[in-house]
């Protein structure tokens, strides 16, 4: 596992987030994998809606 990935996963764990790796996405995942990114954002927003305040 690369150091970068390890760090990313650690940040996700510490912040209660979810780490998602997009292979070959480069610096612009929203441009290289726009459908995937849109769907991830939608799922993320949906997960917040389910939370009770």
């Amino acid at each position: 596992m690369s150091v970068l990935r390890e760090r990313a996963e650690a940040v996700a764990a510490l912040t209660g987030g979810t780490f998602v790796g997009l292979e070959g996405a480069g610096h612009l995942p929203q441009a290289r994998h726009p459908v995937k990114v849109n769907l991830l954002i939608r799922d993320f927003v949906a997960s917040l809606e389910k939370r009770t305040p």
């Binding site: 994998h33 726009p34 459908v35 995937k36 849109n38 769907l39």
Partner: protein, 402 residues
Amino acid sequence: MSRRRRALFVSSPIGLGHAQRDVAIARELRQLVPDLEIDWLAQHPVTKVLEAEGERVHPMSAELANESGHMESESAEHDLHCFQAWRRMDEILLANFMVFHDVVREESYDLWIGDEAWELDYYLHENPEEKRAAYVWLTDFVGWLPMPDGGEREAFLTADYNAEMIEHIARFPRVRDRALYVGNADDVVGEAFGPDLPLIRDWTEQHFDFAGYVTGFDPAEFGDREKLRSELGYRPGEQVCVVTVGGSGVGGHLLRRIVDAFPEAKELVPELRMVVVAGPRIDPAAFPGLDGLEAHAYVHNLYRHLGACDLAVVQGGLTTAMELTANRRPFLYFPLRHHFEQNFHVRHRLGRYGAGREMDFETATPTVIAQAIAEEIGSEVDYAPVETDGAAKAAARIAELL
């Protein structure tokens, strides 16, 4: 199991051409699969045709980002660089794919049909795991081609796009369950996809089924042409010239040029009646009121008028030109400048049929147009015949998936 079979038809909104043929294919498909329910994901101006035909336009269609408006915004005087315009439309195509995705996430369809639905085809190949139904791709041309004045840069880009498409199909052959070419193998251009890439015709023959041309009508159903003319309100002896430039607003300059040619044409052909179809996006009130000249915003079943006319003046779009070819009517056509499909693919196909007289917007002054109208109106034609079973053939191949 009582679940009805359902199909979602995604019809390209760029021009009105696809709508008529898609309706014809849908009609044939229902004959073969009587319980089939078809929803349409489409936008203006295609929805206008669908509504007139009583088809069910899915309410989510209202969420689609406007493609023909973008094409118009990219156009200049009788000029549409459609490859570049398409390249600059990626945010619209993506948004529309997401609308499609929302629809098929909420509702179950057995089959998706995309007629030049570029966003659907491209993003399905980019995200093959999102494919959840049988999928049919329809097109009437294969291969982006560079315009000569685009130089090396454009040649590089079109080859690159073609290479990506070839790679998509090779990597995920299961995405397209059927790929149907609307036409015959001879209609495919002789060029290669680019340097070191296959010949377009060879590749298309390997990867497509050929439906033959789909006109959406049988000229024989018109019966007697004189009867059709009288039904449409054309008097005997009148020389009817129908002028139409498709559903987008791009054709405005050509329409005005042809209207400018009307007085001279009327002098040469005293019985001339010019019927200008402005389309839903051009205001017909902008044209002058002259004796023998009339303008309409929209004409339902325009193909009947094209079947009845003595001459048509059109852009270089495939559908209208082929309707005229099938109806064996003489016509003048003006390919849009920088529109590779009209300048290469359509021209090649019309050449094969020996149909139409090609005009150059650059050099066609009102005098040149008036003379061409006078020379061609009412003339006999010698076109190769157009098959009338294309819709049925396409539907038969699609029905195999249901």
